[in-house]
C-alpha cells in the first residue's frame, strides 16, 4: 500500500504542527526521524486518519484515511503512549481489537494467543495489564497492532521502554514483516535502531521535512566533505597510499594515523567512492580490512542537517 503526503500542513490553533511536508512511503520500512516535538507523531496521526491536514492531501492507497473508515482494516498502529483498558488481561485486550476487526470469538482467542506467545508473553497473557512491566506493555501494543496481519504498520517510538531482548525481537519481527511486503513506518529518536532496520528515512525537524530518501543519498546532498577511513594500512604503505589518493580529483585531503594504522580521506564524492578505493588498493597491492565512514551514520547526518541541535 502506498502512502502519500502532498504539501501537508497541520496547524493547532496558532501553533504549527507540521509545515508543507511531502512524503511518499512504499512497501518496506521507512523511518521517520526527528527530535521530540519535531512533528513525527502528527505526521503519523494524519496517515492513520486520526487527524486531518489543515492544508495539503494525505492518501493511503489513493484514499483519504480520515474519512474512509473501511480503509482502516489495513492499519496497525503502535502508539508512543500507553493506551490500554487496564482492567483487561493482555489476551483480552488483543482479542477485543480483533473482534473490532470482525473476528469471531474463538478465532480471535486462537490468533491472539499465538501472537502474544510469539512475542514472549506466554505466561503473562492472562494477567491484568495493570501488572505489566513497560516491556510487556510494549509487546502487547505490538501484538495488538500486528495480530490481524495489516498491510500498513505505523509504529511510533516502538522501542521506547523496551529492554535489549525485546528490542532485538521487535527488530527481527519488523524485518520479517517488511519481507512479507508490508508498508512499515517507524518513528524514533534513537537513530541507531532505525539505522539497523532501514536506509530509507525521512528527517523532520520543527515540523519541516529536512530530507527524505536513502540515507547515503541524503548524505551526498550535503555539500560538506566527509571522511572515509581505511584500516589497517601497513605503516610502510600509509604515506604511499595517501599520496596516491591525493592524485584523485575527488580527494579533498588525506590524514594518516601511524598509531592506529588508519588513513582518512576527505571527499565530497558520491557512493562510487566505495568502488574506486578498492580498485586503487588492488592496483597498489595494499590489503586492508575495512573501508567505512562513521560520518555516514544517522547521528552525524542529522547533526549536519540541524546544525548541531540535539535530538531530545
Amino acid at each position: 500500500m502506498k502512502i502519500k503526503l502532498e504539501q501537508v500542513t497541520k496547524n493547532y490553533g496558532n501553533v504549527q504542527g507540521i509545515s508543507n511536508i511531502s512524503l511518499d512511503v512504499d512497501k518496506g520500512i521507512t523511518g521517520i526521524l526527528g527530535p521530540n516535538g519535531a512533528g513525527k507523531s502528527t505526521t503519523m496521526k494524519m496517515i492513520l486518519g486520526l487527524s486531518r491536514p489543515s492544508r495539503g492531501i494525505v492518501t493511503v492507497d489513493g484514499k483519504d484515511p480520515f474519512y474512509d473508515w473501511q480503509l482502516k482494516k489495513n492499519f496497525g498502529f503502535v502508539p508512543e503512549y500507553d493506551c490500554f483498558y487496564e482492567n483487561m488481561s493482555g489476551l483480552e485486550f488483543v482479542m477485543y481489537f480483533l473482534r473490532m476487526h470482525d473476528f469471531g470469538k474463538e478465532e480471535a482467542e486462537k490468533i491472539a494467543r499465538e501472537a502474544l506467545s510469539e512475542l514472549g508473553l506466554d505466561e503473562a497473557m492472562e494477567r491484568k495489564i495493570n501488572t505489566y512491566s513497560r516491556g510487556m506493555r510494549q509487546k502487547t501494543k505490538v501484538a495488538r497492532a500486528t495480530v490481524f496481519d495489516p498491510e500498513v504498520l505505523v509504529m511510533d517510538e516502538p522501542f521506547q521502554g523496551a529492554d535489549p531482548t525485546t528490542r532485538m525481537l521487535l527488530m527481527n519481527k519488523m524485518t520479517e514483516w517488511a519481507k512479507k511486503g508490508k508498508t512499515i513506518l517507524i518513528s524514533s529518536h534513537i537513530l541507531h535502531d532505525v539505522q539497523s532496520l532501514t536506509d530509507n528515512i525521512a528527517l523532520i525537524n520543527n515540523g519541516k521535512m529536512l530530507a527524505h530518501g536513502n540515507r547515503h543519498e541524503i548524505r551526498n546532498l550535503i555539500n560538506v566533505p566527509r571522511p572515509i577511513s581505511i584500516v589497517p594500512v601497513k605503516n610502510g604503505n600509509l604515506r604511499k597510499l595517501a599520496k596516491r589518493l591525493l592524485d584523485e580529483k575527488w580527494t579533498k585531503a588525506t590524514a594518516i594515523n601511524e598509531e592506529t594504522n588508519e588513513l582518512t580521506v576527505e571527499t565530497t564524492q558520491t557512493e562510487d567512492i566505495y568502488l574506486e578505493i578498492p580498485k586503487i588498493l588492488q592496483k597498489e597491492k595494499i590489503t586492508v580490512k575495512k573501508i567505512y565512514s562513521e560520518d555516514d551514520s544517522l547521528d552525524s547526518l542529522y547533526a549536519k542537517l540541524v546544525e548541531g541541535r540535539q535530538w531530545k
Binding site: L50, K72, K73, F77, P79, C83, Y96, F103, K105
Partner: protein
C-alpha cells in the same frame, strides 16, 4: 448528487453493521458495562438512590405494630385511622418521590456521568485513538456505548424502582403491593424512555466537547428544568416524560390535573402530548442525537 450517493449507501452500511454486530457488539457492551459498574461515582449514585428505600424500611419497622387492617375475601387490606386503604397514600408517595428525586434528579446526573464515562474516558485514556484506527464506523462506536449506557442506567434505576416500590408499599401488605403494580410499571416505562433520551443527548455533548460535564449540567438546569415549565416546553424531553406520567395516572383513574405535571402554557391551556407520540418523539430524538453524535466523533481529531 453527492448526498444522494451517500443516501444510497445507507442500506449497504446498515447491512455491514448488522452482519458484524455479532462480533463487535458483545465485547464493547461487556467492556462498557464493566467500566460503568466499577466506577466509584456509580456506587455513590446507587447509595443516593437507596436512601429513600432505607428510609421506607425504617418507617415500616417503626410503625409495624400500629397498623390496622380489614379482611376482604380473605385478604388483609391495611387501613389508616380513618379507615381508608393505606396503599393509596403509599403509591402516591412512591410516585412523588420517584418523580421528584429519581426521574428529575438522580437519573439526569446518572446520564451525564455515564455518557461521559463511556466516551470521554476513552478519549482521556487514548483508547479512542486505537478504536479510530480499527474498521468500525463512528456510529457503531457511539451506538454500542449508548446501548451499554442505557442497559446500565435503566438496570440500576429499574432495580432501584422495584426495591423502592416494595419498601414503600410494604406497610400496605401483599394486597397493596399487587394492587398497584401498574404504578411501578409506569415508573419503569418513564425511566426506560428517560434513559433512552438523556444518554443519547449527553453522548452528543461528550462526542463534541472535551469537558462535557458543565454543558450537561447547564443543559439540565436551563433547558430541562426551566424551559420545561414554559410555553416552549415541547422542545424538552421532560415535557414528553411528564406527558407519559400524566396520561398513565389519568388512565389509572387518579385525580390529577395537567398543571400537576406543568403541562400547561401561560394561557393555562393543556399542552400535554399523547403518550404514544411522546414515546415516538423520544425515540426520534435518541436516533437523531446518535447520528449527530457520530458526526462529532468522526470529525474529532487527535
Amino acid at each position: 448528487m453527492e448526498i444522494m450517493g451517500k443516501i444510497s449507501e445507507i442500506p449497504e452500511i446498515i447491512q455491514t453493521f448488522a452482519k458484524r454486530s455479532k462480533n463487535v457488539f458483545p465485547p464493547i457492551v461487556k467492556n462498557c458495562v464493566y467500566q460503568l459498574l466499577v466506577n466509584k461515582i456509580t456506587w455513590v449514585l446507587v447509595a443516593l438512590l437507596l436512601l429513600p428505600c432505607i428510609l421506607g424500611m425504617i418507617i415500616y419497622y417503626q410503625t409495624d405494630d400500629q397498623r390496622q387492617f380489614q379482611e376482604s375475601n380473605g385478604e388483609k387490606i391495611y387501613v389508616d385511622s380513618e379507615g381508608r386503604p393505606t396503599h393509596e397514600d403509599n403509591r402516591e408517595t412512591f410516585l412523588d418521590i420517584s418523580d421528584a428525586f429519581v426521574i428529575s434528579f438522580v437519573a439526569i446526573i446518572m446520564a451525564i456521568i455515564f455518557s461521559s464515562e463511556l466516551i470521554n474516558e476513552e478519549f482521556e485514556n487514548k483508547t479512542m485513538q486505537l478504536l479510530r484506527t480499527t474498521p468500525i464506523h463512528p456510529f457503531e462506536i457511539l451506538l454500542y456505548r449508548y446501548v451499554s449506557g442505557v442497559i446500565c442506567m435503566f438496570g440500576i434505576l429499574g432495580l432501584n424502582a422495584i426495591l423502592f416500590y416494595y419498601t414503600t408499599m410494604m406497610p400496605s401488605g401483599t394486597h397493596g403491593i399487587i394492587e398497584n403494580l401498574d404504578v411501578l410499571l409506569m415508573v419503569l416505562q418513564v425511566l426506560f424512555f428517560e434513559s433512552l433520551a438523556f444518554i443519547a443527548i449527553f453522548c452528543v455533548f461528550t462526542a463534541y466537547l472535551e469537558k462535557p460535564y458543565l454543558v450537561g449540567i447547564l443543559y439540565w438546569i436551563i433547558w430541562e428544568s426551566f424551559v420545561s415549565g414554559q410555553n416552549y416546553q415541547k422542545l424538552t424531553i421532560t415535557h414528553y416524560l411528564n406527558s407519559i406520567l400524566f396520561d398513565s395516572t389519568k388512565a389509572m383513574g387518579w385525580d390529577v390535573a395537567a398543571s400537576d405535571y406543568n403541562l400547561i402554557n401561560s394561557k393555562e391551556e393543556i399542552i400535554a402530548t399523547e403518550p404514544l407520540t411522546a414515546m415516538i418523539v423520544i425515540l426520534t430524538v435518541a436516533v437523531v442525537a446518535l447520528i449527530i453524535g457520530s458526526r462529532g466523533l468522526a470529525n474529532r481529531q487527535f
